[in-house]
């Protein structure tokens, strides 16, 4: 065995990794080679020197670490974006989603219009069947809001326009578009609503505004109820204290 190879095996031997079949030949080499024996001893001494001279940490290391950790966690908490903290971004996201959905809805509406409009002047039965499957085709006929509501389902249960107050503002376009069709989603986009009267649009805006107002008032009412309960408890506490005081004063007399 050559010395270069023997020294490789010595390095492995230090880590307990020498293959068993090489042990004997290595031992034979070491028996005959003084330099490799010295090399072996030097490797072992080198390991001892490294382990014995490990540098020491400064004494306040852990204290500084905890401080830095707390600062890092505070910074992370500050940077964390909560959905209700960013209404602008929420409304942009809504706008983008609305844009995509509007484009899709427009395409569907245009395709259906090509199919259905020629038949409006024709067979009524066919029109009914078409209405059942594609509510959007009623817009051409519905001249008042009542008819539109009947045709498209219960608008009071489903939101028409996502409000900026809702942080989970990605609307359930599926449920909305199934019932209402894309045209109802934004009454301002009147070019989508051919056949609608301006009165209907105004009524729709009013409904939306009233619904939002309703939600706000409901929230305020819930809060007021909670405050009332707290005040009642405080009043009860004060009453019982007053009664105790009176009875103790009466006892003294």
């Amino acid at each position: 065995m050559r010395c270069t190879k023997a020294r490789e095996w010595l390095s492995l031997d230090l880590d307990g990794r020498i293959p068993p079949d090489k042990t004997i030949s290595l031992e034979e080499h070491l028996a005959n080679c003084g330099e490799c024996r010295q090399y072996h001893a030097d490797l072992q001494l080198g390991s001892r020197l490294l382990r014995a001279t490990e540098p020491a940490l400064p004494e306040n290391f852990e204290w500084r670490l905890q401080l830095k950790l707390n600062q890092t966690l505070q910074e992370m908490a500050r940077q964390a974006t909560l959905p209700w903290d960013e209404p602008e971004r929420t409304s942009w996201r809504w706008l983008r989603n609305f844009g995509l959905s509007a484009a899709g809805g427009l395409a569907i509406a245009a395709a259906l219009a090509f199919l259905v409009v020629p038949q409006l002047t024709g067979n009524g039965a066919r029109l009914t069947g078409t209405l059942d499957r594609a509510p959007v085709t009623t817009y051409g006929e519905a001249q008042d809001l009542t008819a539109a509501v009947t045709a498209t389902g219960d608008l009071t249960r489903r939101p028409l326009i996502p409000t900026t107050q809702r942080w989970n503002s990605t609307p359930n376009w599926q449920s909305v578009s199934q019932g209402t069709g894309i045209g109802l989603l934004n009454p301002d986009r009147s070019e989508l609503l051919s056949g609608w009267s301006s009165n209907s649009l105004n009524d729709l805006r009013t409904i939306t505004t009233l619904r939002d107002e309703n939600q706000r008032l409901r929230t305020r009412l819930t809060q007021a109820n909670r405050d009332l309960i707290l005040l009642q408890r405080q009043l009860d506490t004060l009453r019982s204290k007053h009664v105790d005081q009176e009875s103790s004063e009466g006892g003294e007399h």
């Binding site: 020294r7 490789e8 390095s11 492995l12 230090l14 880590d15 990794r17 090399y39 030097d42 490797l43 001494l45 080198g46 390991s47 001892r48 020197l49 490294l50 382990r51 014995a52 001279t53 490990e54 540098p55 020491a56 940490l57 400064p58 290391f61 852990e62 500084r64 670490l65 830095k68 950790l69 890092t72 966690l73 992370m76």
Partner: protein, 230 residues
């Protein structure tokens, strides 16, 4: 029987956890559950090993302390990412190695500072042996020896130094070093061998110095007695 079992389980619940007896993997599991005390125990176990490794890599104590803190902070923040597929020590040293590597790369990109020292700094020069007449009592806790070993280690090229220190000082297995560094097993083996060879060349003058060898023995005795005290 049912009442006994219930009583036993209540008693077991009320026994405080002996943190020092838990494995590293159990500790990190508790950190994942939000137990900050478990993290304190991890810090206690790893701060020395990490600092020792990082200091010998970056050579600057302030930077080494900073990187050690950064490693431990990342362990805490990303505790949920640890899975018991590998040993916890492997995961910790992977974080440390990556941080060190990034810091060294950033350092290498800085413009070179030209030294005013006319003597070129060569990796091939062995260390100057210390004064054999030096009074050993002046050597505080083997400080002189520590500085010489640190200097020798710093002269080992970085690509050899990383697996060398992970093996020698932190006692990671070859397979763990393979995971930490991303090197092949054969490469790990050969780099450790080369680093040992280089280190031996650098400390050759020390190996015959009786004073420093006496220092070594004193340090080892102190380490053993400190361990017994714990």
């Amino acid at each position: 029987m049912h009442a006994l079992e219930e009583q036993f389980s209540v008693e077991r619940r009320s026994v405080p956890v002996a943190w020092t007896e838990l494995r590293d993997e159990d500790l990190i599991a508790r950190v994942q559950q939000g137990q900050r005390r478990a993290f304190d125990e991890i810090v206690s176990r790893y701060k020395g090993r990490l600092f020792s490794f990082i200091l010998r890599m970056v050579k600057d104590p302030t930077e080494a302390e900073d990187l050690t803190q950064e490693t431990l902070i990342r362990v805490y923040i990303h505790a949920n990412k640890y899975r018991e597929i590998a040993r916890f020590s492997t995961w910790v040293f992977t974080i440390a190695t990556n941080l060190v590597r990034n810091r060294m790369r950033r350092r290498a990109r800085r413009p070179r500072m030209f030294s005013l020292n006319p003597t070129p700094d060569s990796d091939e020069l062995p260390l100057d042996p210390p004064d054999p007449d030096m009074d050993p009592s002046r050597d505080v806790e083997g400080e002189e020896l520590g500085k010489l070993i640190a200097l020798a280690t710093s002269k080992i090229p970085e690509k050899y130094r990383t697996p060398f220190l992970l093996r020698e000082v932190n006692e990671l297995s070859y397979e763990e070093i393979q995971q930490v560094t991303g090197l092949k097993l054969g490469t790990v083996r050969s780099r450790i061998n080369r680093a040992r060879n280089r280190f031996r060349q650098l400390i050759k003058p020390l190996l015959k110095n009786e004073t420093l060898l006496a220092d070594l023995e004193r340090l080892e005795e102190k380490m053993l007695s400190d361990k017994d005290d714990e």
